[in-house]
Every structure is written in C-alpha cells, then in structure tokens.
Symmetry: C2
Subunit: 219 residues, 2 copies
Amino acid sequence: MIQPRPRTIPEATVARLAVYLRVLTSFADGGRTTVSSGELASAAGVNPAGLRKDLSHLGSCGVRGVGYEVRALRERIARVLGAEQSRACVLVGIGNLGTALADYAGFGSRGFEIVGLFDAAPDRVGRRIGGLTVQDITDLEATVTATQASIGVIATPADVAQQVCDRLSAAGVRSILNFAPVTLSAPAGVDVRQVDLSVELQVLAFLGQQRTTVGEVSA
Amino acid sequence: MIQPRPRTIPEATVARLAVYLRVLTSFADGGRTTVSSGELASAAGVNPAGLRKDLSHLGSCGVRGVGYEVRALRERIARVLGAEQSRACVLVGIGNLGTALADYAGFGSRGFEIVGLFDAAPDRVGRRIGGLTVQDITDLEATVTATQASIGVIATPADVAQQVCDRLSAAGVRSILNFAPVTLSAPAGVDVRQVDLSVELQVLAFLGQQRTTVGEVSA
DNA sequence: GCGACTTTGTTCCAGCGTTCACAAGCGGTT
DNA sequence: AACCGCTTGTGAACGCTGGAACAAAGTCGC
C-alpha cells in the first residue's frame, strides 16, 4: 500500500489549514474561482510564504502565475483534515456554553455531527436543542457505544470534568475537547485538548499591559 | 526609573503562568502551604524543568530543598500577570456563548470586571445577567468611554464581528478577544486574539485520525 | 557543627516553526 | 513561437520553544 500523503503535518499547520478552509468557503460563497497566496494569507491573517509552505504539505495544488483554484483547494484541505466524512460527537454539560456549542451551526458543515447531549440536572434533561433531546448523564456510555462516537466535548463545571473525562475514555472516546478550567488526565491513547477562556483573556491582558508599560518606559 | 523585571516574558510562558495561577489557587484552597515544582508541574500537565524555567522569568521565588510557598507564588504570578488590578471589560453579543461568558465566575477572581453587556436584539436588551443589564449596542461607545474599558470580548455572529471590532477599536479598546469565526483586522495598537471553537475541534479530530491511520499502517 | 539529601535555578542542546529570498513554471502578449 | 510578468514551491537561515543535565543553595539528621 502506497502512502501518497506521508510523513506528518505539523500541528500548527493543521490549525491554520482549518482557518484556510473557512476563508476558502467564504471566498467560494462570494463567487471567487481563483485566489493567490497573498490574498488568502491576508484574509487568514498569516504570512504568504508560510501559507504556501502549509499548502505544500498536501502536495502541489496551485498553478504558477495564476494562484489556487478556490473549490479544488477547499476540497483538498477538507479531505486532508477529514472533514468530508462525518464524525460522531457527544457533548456533556448543557449549560450556557454547552447550549452555544450545540447550536453552533459551524460544526455540521465541517464534518462534525453531534449525536448526543448529556447533563446531570433533571430540569435540563428532556429539553430539545438543535434537533436533539438532552439525555441524562447515565445514558452516556450506552449512546457512545451505540453511535461509535469518537469525540467528546466537556462543557461541565470544573469539579465533575475529570469524572466525565474518565467515563468518556472508558466508553471508547478517543479525543476530548475540554472547556472546564481544570487540567485533565486521560489514559494513553486518548487525546485531550484544553480551551480555557480565562487563560486566553489573561494572555491578552498581559500583552496589552506589557505594551503599555514598554510605551511608558520609552516615552 | 529602574526596571527590576525587565526583558520580556515569552507568550507561551504567559499562557502557562495563567494555568499555574489556577492550580495554585486550587492548592491554596486545599490548605497546602508549599509545593514542589514536580507536584505543580504534574497538576498543570507540564514538564517540571519547563515549569521552573517559566518561574525563573519572574525572579527567584522558591526555596531550594523545600519548594515554593503556595500563597507567595500565587501572589507573585498574579502581580506579574496584572491580575491584582481590576480591568474593565465589555462583552458584545449576548447569545448563548455571551451569556456563558457573562456568567463565568472565573473572570472576577482573576482581575477582570465586566462592566457592560451589549446586544442588538431588542428582546435581549434589558435582561439581567450576572448582576448586569444588557444594553443596546448603540450605548457601546458611551460605556467604553465612561468606564475606560480596555478589553472587549466579541461573541456575536460572524457577519457583524468586524463591525463591532471597528467600533471597539475606535472607542479606545486596546485588546479584543474574538469568538466569532472570522479573522478580524484591527488598527495598529489593538491586539486581537482569536478563539475558534471549530478549529480546535478540527485539530483534535485530525490528530485522532492521524493516530488511527498510523496505527493501521503499522498493524 | 557538619555532612548528605532534596530541590531550585541555570545552562546547554536539539527539534520545530517562521521568515526571507530565489529558482521554476505557467499564462498572456506580441 | 518567443518573451515577459506573475505566482508558486522550496531551500536556507534565524529565532524560539521544550527537554535534559548540572551546579548552587538550603534544610534535615546526626
């Protein structure tokens, strides 16, 4: 078996590819048929040379002197990212954040299908959100098994996130996206990705503060 | 004027410092008084040597042979990150995500005070969330000016995010955290930080897919 | 009081990511 | 058909980040 798309793609590149995919979709909707690396880089907020290097990881796709064909490039990125095949996701914790995620239309168009919503609070169970009914957390394992869900999203309070992580891992989920402000530990073979809103805000504030301080010193 | 904490702290270190701050607070609440770099690193999910290097950026604070004093270290990190002084933030777009952010208790304890909630939908204006009343978006500039808000958070739909970004920038906001799935352009002097939920999910899915594929090839 | 152990702080090194700069290639034009 | 301008793709240098090993320093035990 040959391996036409070999080696590994750097993680930083993967993150940018997802951004390019979004921008390309927007260009396609706008009727554009071709786009140059400079335009695309500008729209994505990155360096043109870096963008070309990112795209080089998935083989030559552009035409010299012209640029990239919008639809073809979009499809190729989607294929590499695996966005063409649907992935089953379960979402645990249907508070405000969980509801926002469940309602987020961007998932479906990118190959993610939410197949289960779970919460422990009785008054949330039974609610319908985005076409799905919130189930009790006790049904978690059964649904994961039945749907072969490979991705779990945790949007619970911090104090139960580890417990949910353990149950998802045991049920066969291989990838977990965690929004709770705790560092999770998962068994080997399970990827955990952390998104901490207050960390983002603190980094932003620090950069602003640093800029201000430097400005004062130099003034 | 001397500058006892000179140079610059790498951005990656700043992000981890925010995590350490959270872990230290949790340790302090648990009654711990001292902690070693190994324990702290384990709780934060990082390498012990890296943690020590991070902490070295803010000057010696530990005691050799013993470890770090929890409360003192927490305060020092908080001071470096600027979490001791309160920062005024405005939040635009009070949908599910915006509501989640407004309700998020973690902000207040980290030095962020939300001073304004804004939305364009009439049925959302007037609602009370987390002690604040949602205002009409037309009041944005007046509130930013009156409160000297330096941070803006955008949780609006994608199609109005750039417009909100422009208004925030013009009103004097220096740092913007954007949750809308678009790449914003802001004038020089304004920092924009992007958090894209679907990008995170796509990176996670790709890593899982790559792992699976590699496993199949090697099998 | 002294030695040994523990833990920090620092230095070195390797790998990765990013940027710049240039050769290669394609389309349009004459 | 040949030339020219434009854009891609790639090679190399630079800076940064992450990890490991080592020296300094402080505490505990005797």
